[in-house]
């Protein structure tokens, strides 16, 4: 069969489709978005009715995937790392209920925070929930793990967490496919109480989960995703997790002289770790993310039998993404280097596109707020977060999806007036609606500006759950019709828009201003495709 040239994300999607996937559920988030987009484009998936529409947020996505699993079918939920915080409740509890049809939760971590607020390592969530974790090192392994992951999930009747990081998500390589499997037939769970986590049942389910751990460890030794390779020199043993293996191999083109334990499946294979530690004088742990294995090896008392090197002793940086140069340096492999970056090099940070509606919204808001002074605009996650940068300097917070509305309310409770939230349309339906309900119930004096570009812009223009529904949602939540205003952020409307904002900023209750103009990127794409 011909090789397919796929991103790591796309390889996961193709692996899942080939393994008989029935539905994928996700909210867009860099670097995970391309998994779901691939299924949406895939002709086999379309012809066979695989579900691939976007969900309102990661929690609804994971719950829907669990529901599909309940009905016996293979399902996948995808998200970025911080999305798993939103979906943590169903994720942890899906380990308690267990699954029926295979369930893979794919989480794409973003070390170095290329497009994120933090660089949390999702392997910890896997350990926390006590479910198997798969971490691919290559695009082919991403495919193979997605393909095999459903079987693993069904074998132990547990969800499987698959963890990938930015670099592999967004790097392409040739993939060899396996045989296309059929979807599972529809069925109901054998045990009608399996998914009922009443305390009395939950206690039994938890015992089952705990008892399964031994088999999970045993499986991690046999799966083929963990491999202990011999080496001639035993002064050092190396543990390489996921993509770190590639950076290690890059530094030794003629072969690695030391024993290497490649880890791709967790719980970590204890016996392999023991064999490596006892055979070598010291250990180097190379992990893309937090020092999970390294901390475990050191132990809480830092009394590992052999010296352990890695991110905690400074051999590798404590934070940020790895690369072949950092790994080479840690192992004493010196490379060459080209000319220095010239001193006149400029920064070229991302910026709002020329002609973007968010710009006109910010300009109007800044003018309307001028009499009150700075420090009163809470914002959120999306393109408009770039409003924090010059020349706008327009926002004072960006924390998590939906936090603009609730932080504005809390600050208003503390006496800030006016207190403003700026949130995008898709972020609003993701997690802003519930906060607005809090504000409506207490009639808090907040002005919520929904900067509505009718798409999920930052991740590339996916369909927004808010499309065509914002006014009815706000009214349904109880926003007073007189204080639900709609404006069009265009330069020619600037004075009018400032006027509307000034009126609502003065109001001692909940106002919502929908500032609506389609994303220019989405609009251009729509025109091109016509």
């Amino acid at each position: 069969m011909d090789k397919l040239l796929l991103l790591g994300d796309e390889a996961i999607a193709q692996g899942a489709i080939d393994a008989g996937l029935s539905g994928i559920y996700a909210y867009p988030g860099t670097p995970s978005t391309e998994i779901t987009e691939y299924v949406q484009r895939n002709s086999y998936a379309r012809q066979n009715g695989l579900h691939s529409d976007w969900s309102a947020n990661e929690k609804t996505a994971l719950e829907a995937a669990l529901g599909m699993s309940y009905a016996g079918k293979r399902a996948m939920a995808c998200m970025k790392h911080v999305g798993l915080n939103v979906a943590a409740d169903p994720f942890i509890n899906s380990a308690m209920t267990g699954i029926a049809g295979g369930l893979i939760v794919v989480v794409a971590d973003d070390p170095s925070m290329h497009s994120s607020q933090n660089e949390q390592d999702s392997r910890f969530y896997g350990m926390f929930a006590q479910v198997p974790v798969l971490e691919p090192s290559t695009q082919q392994e991403a495919y193979d793990m997605a393909y095999a992951g459903f079987g693993l999930s069904e074998k132990f009747r547990l969800p499987v967490l698959m963890r990938i990081t930015t670099r592999l998500s967004h790097s392409r390589a040739g993939i060899i496919r396996k045989e296309q499997l059929n979807q599972n037939p529809f069925s109901l769970p054998d045990d009608p109480r399996q998914f009922v986590l009443l305390p009395s049942i939950a206690r039994k389910r938890y015992k089952i989960l705990l008892e399964t751990q031994v088999s999970l460890e045993d499986n991690a030794l046999k799966s083929g995703f963990n491999v202990l390779r011999e080496g001639k020199e035993h002064k050092l043993g190396i543990i390489a997790c996921g993509i770190a293996l590639n950076y290690l191999e890059e530094n030794f083109p003629a072969g690695i002289p030391y024993p290497v334990l490649k880890i791709g499946q967790y719980p970590a294979p204890k016996r392999m770790l023991q064999d490596l530690v006892s055979a070598c004088d010291s250990i180097m742990v190379i992990e893309e993310g937090y020092p999970l294995i390294e901390e475990g090896l050191r132990g809480i008392l830092n009394n590992s039998p052999k010296p352990v090197h890695g991110r905690l002793d400074g051999s590798l940086p404590r934070d940020g993404e790895l690369n072949p140069d950092l790994v080479g340096e840690a192992l004493g492999v010196t490379g060459q280097q080209g000319p220095e970056i010239p001193e006149f090099m400029i920064d070229r940070p991302p910026a709002l596109c020329k002609g973007c509606g968010h710009i006109d919204t910010f300009k109007a808001l800044l003018e309307a707020l001028e009499p009150y002074g700075p420090g009163r605009t809470f914002s959120d996650i999306g393109c408009y977060t770039l409003g924090a940068l010059p020349p706008y300097n327009a926002i004072n917070s960006c924390v998590d999806m939906g936090a603009s509305v609730t932080m504005a309310k809390g600050a208003a409770d503390a006496g800030l007036f006016p207190s403003v939230a700026v949130i995008g349309d898709s972020t609003f339906t993701h997690s802003g609606m519930t906060g607005l309900l809090d504000a409506v119930i207490e009639n808090s004096p907040v002005t919520v500006v929904i900067s509505d570009n009718e798409t999920t812009g930052m991740t590339g223009g996916q369909k927004s759950s808010a499309l065509g529904r914002l006014e009815s949602i706000c009214l349904g939540l109880g926003v007073n019709e007189k204080h639900l205003r709609v404006i069009t952020p265009l330069r020619k409307n600037h004075d009018h828009n400032v006027g509307v904002m000034m009126e609502e900023l003065k109001y001692q209750g909940v106002s919502v201003i929908i500032s609506r103009r389609e994303c220019i990127q989405t609009a251009a794409r729509r025109k091109r495709s016509k």
Partner: protein, 192 residues
């Protein structure tokens, strides 16, 4: 042994991913191994973007090119290519468009930049925007640059032309021809 380590650089929206796609497709056609790391998400919005493209008939370990190991830095924008100079190998080439993309206030004097680039051993400078206009549209300047780098990449030019034809096929015959023209003009210019 066939091997090309290429860093593609430019500003979001200049079309470096199209270059990467064309070279990857061409390499795949010749049964070569490929790894191509690219930037998606926030940085695409008018920011500096790069892609690491590795082609080889042997195994490729890392998705990222180590410092000092890039055979070519191919840049659609003069300043952006210099951002990755530490990656350039001893005999590597810096092939760059001379037309600046100015979207920041502190952009250095373009003539000074070109002077600095000329000092770098192995630099090739061409006005891709001019050639692209001649080929039919300034938007093909990325393809002009691909053409300029093509004589130094371990993939046959026929395979690259084939890949371009496939990539632009859905936009119609004229767009395919325009891009092939741009590609050939770049290739000719760099050989001189």
């Amino acid at each position: 042994m066939k091997k090309s380590n290429i860093i593609l650089s430019g500003v979001g929206g200049q079309g470096i991913l199209t270059i990467a796609a064309a070279l990857s497709l061409a390499a795949l056609r010749e049964n070569l191994n490929i790894k191509q790391a690219e930037v998606h998400g926030m940085s695409q919005r008018g920011g500096a973007v790069q892609s690491h493209l590795r082609i080889s008939d042997g195994r490729i370990a890392s998705d990222l090119i180590p410092k000092g190991r890039a055979d070519i830095i191919l840049s659609i924008e003069p300043v952006e290519g210099m951002r990755y100079l530490p990656y350039l190998s001893e005999n590597g080439l810096l092939i760059t468009n001379s037309k600046p993309f100015v979207n920041v206030d502190n952009y250095p004097d373009p003539d000074f930049i070109l002077g600095e680039i000329k000092k770098i051993k192995g630099s090739i400078i061409l006005d891709a925007d001019d050639m692209a206009k001649e080929a039919g549209s300034v938007r093909t300047s990325n393809i002009v640059m691909l053409g300029a780098a093509s004589p130094y990449i371990c993939v046959d030019t026929g395979s690259i032309e084939n890949a371009l034809a496939r990539i632009f096929d859905r936009k119609g015959h004229e767009v395919v021809e325009m891009n092939l023209r741009a590609y050939r003009m770049g290739r000719e210019a760099a050989r001189r």
